[in-house]
């Protein structure tokens, strides 16, 4: 909010004027109101392995994170380029594998990747789309410096928070929106429906029937699944509501089985089809794979897309972008050491206290080491893990991340944040909702923003020109 020179950064000017004129007790009161609102609405998430609090609220901060129109243009161009490249990469990997033959990405990175699905080889997903829905995590290190932290092409979650955060802000501070011109995010669900419908499979006749596939009410993101289905007017189904009938995937309705055309699935590949994948899975649909192969259903995101989420692959993204677009990456990667490479590993072990080390397949902030915040004991333990299985880790420097203010009892205080804009892709094009999910490390100095680790969220404002 404040620039390095001490003044107010320009996108925040109008907000600051408003804030300075506000009574901080009123804002304090609104913060409590917001919490009650989230509880009543049931915007909660489940924490795995936490029996006491099976449903928790994500802390919500009332100070918006503001991005100017020109910053957003730059960001969205970079994101679009990235998603296009990812989609092209996935197509290539499951077809001719030219990037491997050109030696730009090592073959073993794919061969050893658990998310690689040999069954997708030669398959053409409807419309050629793999990454129907994706989210790119971005951090800012300076006024004009943005870095991509990671790509989420499997099942990026958090979009319901983006929408509910805005809804909450509109309800609490309507006067602010009259003063500041903020771009809409509320049309995301309808864009999602349009985008998914545009990917209907060859066998679809007429208006596509879209359904959201959830593992059920005990899943940590169930709220989001029901939210999206509700706002799209789509059915929210579980595996046991579906079966293959006459070569189509159909849902059991009160009037018999009805075919569905597009399934936005929020279950992992492994669980999609017990006949073709994990036989012990109860979450999926026996035979859905055969229907998919025959053009009877669109699965979004496409099976096998998860290889793009691999953190080891991430380090090759600049090459991947160049290979498929012929352009330099508009948004840089965070420099990354691949511990699978002996030279990199040595360097990482030498500099462990200053680095962030992540599991290659990890997510949700589990199993990571934040060097500067770790104790001697933790460092030693992680060193042993690294030496035992180096290929499982990457390391990154702790960037000097810029901060944004949050509202605390003692007034505004700086915290680290990241940003996850949400991207929709269909044969008709790419849609990026102006804004995204801003996650905040609620503890002073902390770099960890994951909700499973106590991180919070705030509304993200992209300003009109």
């Amino acid at each position: 909010m404040r620039s390095q020179e001490g003044g107010t950064r320009s996108p925040y000017r109008e907000y600051c004027e408003w804030f300075d004129a506000e009574d901080s007790q009123r804002i304090q009161h609104k913060t409590q109101q917001a919490e009650a609102l989230f509880r009543t609405t049931g915007i909660t998430f489940n924490v795995y392995g936490d029996a006491d609090a099976d449903e928790r609220l994500i802390p919500f901060d009332v100070v918006p994170r503001i991005i100017s129109a020109s910053e957003w243009r730059r960001l969205s161009r970079g994101i679009e380029q990235r998603v296009r490249a990812l989609n092209a990469f996935l197509h290539d990997i499951y077809h001719r594998q030219e990037i491997l033959r050109a030696g730009r990405v090592p073959t073993q990175l794919i061969a050893r990747n658990d998310a690689f699905l040999p069954m997708m080889m030669g398959m053409d997903p409807p419309g050629g789309i793999y990454t129907h829905i994706s989210g790119t995590d971005i951090v800012r290190t300076g006024t004009h410096e943005f870095y991509v932290l990671e790509d989420n092409a499997r099942t990026p979650s958090g979009v319901s928070y983006m929408l509910e955060n805005r809804e909450t802000m509109l309800q609490m501070f309507p006067e602010l929106f009259a003063k500041v011109a903020v771009r809409e995010v509320g049309d995301y669900p309808i864009n999602l429906l349009k985008s998914l419908s545009a990917c209907a499979p060859p066998k679809c006749g007429g208006t596509p029937t879209v359904a959201v596939l959830t593992p059920g009410i005990h899943n940590s993101a169930y709220y989001e699944h029901s939210f999206l289905a509700d706002h799209m007017g789509a059915e929210l189904v579980e595996g046991h509501d579906l079966r293959v009938v006459d070569g189509r995937v159909a849902m059991r309705t009160t009037q018999g089985y009805r075919a569905i055309d597009v399934v936005y699935r929020r279950v992992d590949d492994d669980f999609l089809d017990p006949l073709n994948f994990r036989p012990d899975s109860m979450l999926g649909v026996p035979g859905i794979w055969d229907v998919y192969r025959d053009g009877g259903i669109t699965i979004a995101n496409a099976p096998g897309t998860g290889i793009a989420d691999d953190k080891a692959l991430y380090s090759y993204m600049p090459d991947i972008i160049e290979f498929y677009t012929g352009e330099k990456a508009l948004l840089p990667n965070v420099p990354t050491w691949r511990c699978s490479e002996p030279q990199h590993l040595r360097e990482v072990l030498d500099r462990l206290p200053e680095l962030v080390v992540k599991e290659v397949h990890g997510s949700g902030g589990y199993g990571m080491l934040v060097g500067p915040a770790a104790s001697k004991k933790e460092l030693a333990a992680f060193r042993a893990k690294l030496e035992a299985n180096p290929g499982n880790y990457i390391a990154q420097p702790t960037l000097s991340l810029s901060t944004v203010p949050i509202f605390t009892k003692k007034g505004l205080a700086p915290r680290h944040v990241d940003l996850r804009p949400f991207v929709l892709m269909s044969p008709q094009g790419i849609t990026i909702t102006p804004g995204g999910l801003t996650r905040v490390a609620m503890t002073r100095g902390s770099l960890v923003v994951n909700s499973s680790q106590g991180g919070g969220t705030k509304d993200t404002w992209v300003l009109e020109d």
């Binding site: 509880r39 009543t40 609405t41 049931g42 059920g216 009410i217 169930y222 029901s226 289905a229 509700d230 789509a234 059915e235 929210l236 189904v237 579980e238 046991h240 509501d241 849902m251 059991r252 309705t253 009160t254 009037q255 018999g256």
Partner: protein, 313 residues
């Protein structure tokens, strides 16, 4: 609509109704326990039998003290029909059917669960019990209000009403079944009015003690009470009222889907055959036999609805 969604709406409504019915039963039992300590144990037993949880209670506790019974009915996790258990199940079903509920209806169910979970966190003391029971009824009324005021009158609404009235009919029939010996014009009771306190519990457990007075004045007879609870179509907890609503809702489903069902036929039979004879004829055939047969028919109707509308595979 998904079969699963229909099932969730049906069960959400059943559990909500059960929570409210249990509150009424506790209220009735508590009144007696307060006023007549020598019959309290028998009264508490009949409350537990009516709620269908006596066996579980005896296994867990044994003797019928007020505090034990109240706690068992309100919050014991070992009792799947305790109010704490059923509001959780109502809420889980509402979450599953979230996309078929309006935001207001969902928030009412969620608030019901949050409010009552907080109230039932610790054992409820006797002096707090009336307030807690009132809160349970009020929360229920708010959910009903939100459903009535905001839901589309579509199949989902029909399924939730079916759940409500099926559960309610079951509850009223159980009360009659447990108390039938009081209502029977047996040798001892011929010509005399039944025990004041007893009839008060019966009527109180369906929230109809005042309504009865308006309708029948001071005349309290077994026949009249049975008639009121079974055949009186203006009483929202009578068997006749509940069955009419089930018939209506099934008929609307049949029209909406353009297909007649066995469930619809069964509901019509229930209304027009079982609930059209005068009360004297019911007594002549045996009240207990009548109520038992009604409970069976009601349960069979529930199974048929589940089958006809594909609640499960």
């Amino acid at each position: 609509m998904l079969g699963k969604t229909a099932a969730s709406l049906f069960w959400m409504a059943r559990y909500l109704e059960r929570s409210e019915n249990n509150a009424r039963l506790i209220d009735a039992g508590f009144r007696i326990a307060l006023t007549r300590s020598q019959t309290a144990a028998a009264e508490w037993k009949s409350v537990l039998v009516t709620a269908g949880v006596n066996r579980a209670f005896v296994a867990a506790h044994g003797d019928y003290s007020s505090a034990r019974v109240v706690d068992f009915m309100l919050r014991d996790p070992a009792n799947p029909s305790s109010i704490a258990s059923v509001i959780k199940q109502a809420r889980d079903n509402a979450r599953t059917a979230r996309t078929a509920l309006t935001r207001e209806a969902w928030e009412a169910v969620n608030t019901n669960w949050m409010t009552l979970t907080a109230l039932l966190k610790r054992p409820v003391r006797d002096d707090d019990l009336p307030d807690v029971l009132t809160a349970i009824r009020q929360q229920s009324a708010q959910v009903r209000g939100a459903l009535n005021g905001t839901m589309l009158r579509n199949d989902g609404f029909n399924f939730s009403l079916l759940g409500t009235f099926l559960e309610r009919a079951d509850n009223t029939a159980r009360i009659l079944d447990v108390k039938y010996y009081l209502l029977l014009p047996s040798v001892a009771h011929i010509g005399s009015s039944i025990d004041n306190v007893q009839w008060e519990t019966i009527l109180r457990s369906v929230s109809a003690h005042r309504a009865y007075r308006w309708l029948y004045g001071a005349e309290i007879s077994a026949l009249k009470i049975a008639e009121f609870l079974i055949l009186y179509r203006q009483l929202p907890r009578s068997l006749a009222f509940c069955c009419e609503r089930m018939e209506d809702n099934l008929a609307q489903l049949e029209r909406g889907y353009g297909a007649e069902t066995e469930a619809g036929r069964m509901a019509r039979a229930l209304c027009h055959e079982r609930l059209s004879s005068p009360i004297q004829a019911i007594f002549d055939g045996g009240l207990h036999e009548y109520v038992t047969a009604f409970l069976r028919a009601n349960a069979a109707l529930a199974r048929q609805i589940e089958h006809d509308y594909r609640f499960v595979e």
